[in-house]
């Protein structure tokens, strides 16, 4: 900062010497314009250098991981790396009938090689996703041909080892998956698949899971956002209209859940809502419901919706509050003085001014809701599951990482779109934390 100040002080004696029209120059004799630009550049550079370490850190710890997930969702290098000769030889095959002897020989070589190195498992399960039955085809064939050395025809030998090798569709799949990238994870995430002839078709009815779940996640998130609005609006209104001393005390009640561990808040809902829980016990004790007919309020949609509304409510109240705080009370008084009833004044004058706050809060809550995992997983049971539960399932249980990455990428696309809208509407620097 100090340099720029020195630089920008023009030296009057210097400027005056050369006559009337001479440009203003700085103390060191350079034109003032250049000097200023230089100082500006220096300040800019300083600001960038201050942000750079964090940017670099986030690049390694956050942005590259996200990219690596995006790559996973289209990557398919199993055929290329484990069956390299086949992948090369099959390129010459046009796709009519069966490939020629050379491709069969290449596959036999790769399979024998793979059997020796014991690395056929990955390619077998990869191809099995694409063509069911391929796992046993590959492992079985590899076992049977491991001791055969240059027969008359590999074509005959392989087709004898497993009848699938006589099916051109199998070869279509191998050729498709030897390109190094695949769309089949995205297709699977959208409940579609490649048909045997390579065209894209929808999954059979019984195997459609993800699209419905995605829609259900969206619906439940909308419902949660709406409930947060319903509960958050009156509270924000009250906080904004009370005197500072009282409102900052009540604000603590809003911020306390915000600070409390998510797991604690979820646990507490289990304690309250479960069938032997506090709420059911109370209702039974009051005689409202029968001991045999306890309400099922957890491990289903209700559990997810109640717990998540509770968890996300502060994210609705805070932006609403900051917008309402900036609305002058004299507007309402003016409306009343001109004869509007309380309700009309609220509807016509106050409410329209709070719409930006509603938008900000709603988008924030919605973004956070669709990506939630912990709460739906703990209290959602079967019916209260979110799409995130399937990401976790494929990451940890089925180990179909490509599919997990594809579902996650679709969700990420949705979240980023909403985030951009949020940025456009309110700007991320207006995010406040209490």
């Amino acid at each position: 900062m100090s340099d720029s100040m020195h630089g920008s002080h023009a030296n009057p004696s210097n400027a005056g010497d050369n006559g009337v029209k001479a440009p203003l120059v700085a103390a060191d004799g350079r034109p003032l314009k250049v000097s200023l630009r230089r100082a500006l550049f220096k300040n800019k550079l300083r600001a960038i250098l201050l942000v750079a370490p964090l940017m670099l850190f986030l690049l390694v710890a956050f942005i590259l991981p996200i990219f690596s997930m995006l790559t996973r969702s289209v990557e398919s290098n199993e055929v290329r790396t484990i069956l390299p000769t086949t992948a090369l030889a099959i390129q010459a095959w046009e796709g009519d009938g069966l490939p020629d002897e050379q491709v069969f020989a290449a596959l036999a070589y790769d399979l024998q090689e793979g059997q020796r190195n014991r690395n056929l498992g990955r390619v077998a399960s990869r191809l099995n996703y694409e063509f069911s039955g391929m796992r046993s085809t590959i492992t079985g064939t590899a076992r049977r041909i491991s001791n055969i050395d240059s027969p008359d025809s590999w074509k005959e030998t392989l087709m004898e080892a497993h009848r699938n090798w006589g099916n051109p569709d199998v070869w279509t799949v191998i050729k498709r998956e030897s390109r190094g990238y695949t769309l089949s994870y995205y297709l699977a995430a959208l409940d579609m698949r490649f048909d045997t002839d390579g065209s894209i078709v929808r999954q059979p009815e019984s195997r459609r899971v993800y699209v419905d779940l995605m829609i259900k996640t969206l619906w439940m998130s909308i419902l949660i956002t709406f409930l947060c609005f319903l509960l958050g609006y009156p509270v924000a209104f009250l906080l904004a209209s009370l005197p500072m001393r009282t409102s900052s005390l009540l604000m603590m009640l809003v911020l306390l859940p915000f600070w409390t561990s998510l797991l604690v808040r979820t646990t507490t809902w289990i304690a309250i809502l479960q069938s032997q829980g506090i709420l059911n016990n109370m209702l039974v004790a009051l005689g409202i419901i029968d001991d045999q007919a306890r309400l099922r309020m957890i491990y289903n949609e209700i559990g997810t919706i109640v717990a998540m509304t509770h968890i996300l409510l502060p994210f609705m109240i805070l932006p609403l509050y900051s917008v309402m705080k900036s609305i002058s009370p004299s507007y309402m008084r003016a409306a009343r003085s001109m004869g509007a009833t309380g309700f009309t004044a609220f509807r016509r004058v106050y409410f329209p001014q709070t719409v930006p706050g509603i938008g900000a809060g709603a988008i924030l809550v919605f973004i956070l809701a669709i990506g939630y995992y912990i709460t739906p997983a703990l209290v959602g049971g079967e019916s209260g599951r979110f799409i995130t539960n399937f990401i976790a399932y494929h990451m940890q249980v089925s180990l179909n990482w490509g599919l997990a990455a594809a579902i996650a990428s679709i969700l990420l696309g949705l979240v980023i779109t909403l985030y951009l809208i949020y940025n456009k509407l309110v700007g991320s620097d207006s995010l406040k934390l209490g």
């Binding site: 201050l50 009540l250 990506g371």
Partner: protein, 283 residues
């Protein structure tokens, strides 16, 4: 907001109904947090109030779940892990975030809003997506199942909070103070420690507390990238809730609620102090 003199009886009634409604919503917000505190002193291994507790019989209460917690090898190990990871990632996030916030609040910063959006994104991107990405990338570079990996991941998740709170403290920061310090012969380092830091310190500490709370409560990333050695307290709670709900979890939850009350109080006091020393009217 008292009822104005010109209010109609209907408006008067609505005024009180509205207050009661808000009271109920506040109960919904904080009630659940305090329900579990008495439950954690339950003498029986149940998740609900027993007859003895309701009649305030001392026999219905005990400290056995707390004893369980403080004597369990697994819980103590996970607490130690949680504290190590949370402290390390908080320090890292606070230093990086504060420096970046200084650059961000300079009016010379180009593409300010874009950079801000990127820095905040770890808070917006669902943790399960960040977790999956970190699992893939950290496995490739050999950071999976290490303390360093978990610490770096938690630092990334905590950074938005530090950036948000420190930039908030820096808005309205009087830049001429820096010039004043420079004119009196302070070099940039001295200026930073003697002028800038004391003014932004409340924001820095709140940001650090947010980052600490984030790390201390994080499940998904640890679930994905850590090995059994790095198991943290949230992981322990997570598996406890999923498998068998023992009231030990309620004891842990009670301790965590008290911790969050303490953190909230600290942040609130810091915020007031920050507003006072920056000359903004106290709230």
């Amino acid at each position: 907001m008292a009822v104005p003199a010109y209010a109609t009886p209907f408006e008067r009634a609505w005024y009180y109904i509205f207050r009661i409604l808000c009271g109920l919503i506040f109960c919904f917000l904080v009630g659940p947090l305090f329900v579990i505190i008495p439950l954690s002193f339950n003498a029986e291994p149940y998740f609900s109030f027993t007859q003895k507790m309701l009649t305030l019989d001392p026999e219905g209460f005990s400290l056995r779940w707390y004893q369980d917690f403080f004597t369990s090898e697994a819980w103590l190990h996970s607490i130690k892990n949680s504290i190590i990871i949370a402290i390390a990632s908080t320090i890292l996030a606070t230093i990086l975030g504060t420096i970046a916030a200084l650059g961000l609040s300079s009016r010379f910063m180009p593409y300010r809003s874009v950079v801000m959006a990127v820095l905040i994104s770890p808070m917006i991107v669902p943790v399960i997506i960040s977790g999956a990405g970190m699992f893939f990338f950290f496995s490739d570079i050999g950071l999976a199942q290490t303390y360093l990996g978990v610490i770096l991941a938690h630092t990334a998740l905590g950074i938005p909070f530090v950036v948000i709170t420190v930039t908030a403290t820096l808005t309205g920061f009087d830049q001429s103070l820096i010039r004043a310090a420079a004119s009196m012969g302070a070099n940039p380092t001295t200026t930073f420690f003697k002028v800038i830091l004391p003014l932004v310190l409340p924001g820095v500490i709140s940001g650090a507390l947010f980052a600490f709370a984030t790390s201390f409560d994080e499940v998904v990333v640890v679930l994905f990238i850590s090995g059994p050695a790095q198991s943290t307290m949230p992981i322990q709670m997570w598996s406890g809730i999923r498998e068998s709900i023992s009231p030990t979890i309620l004891a842990v939850a009670t301790i965590l609620v008290l911790l969050s009350v303490a953190m909230l109080m600290t942040v609130e006091l810091l915020r007031r102090r920050s507003e006072r020393i920056r000359g903004i009217s106290p709230s």
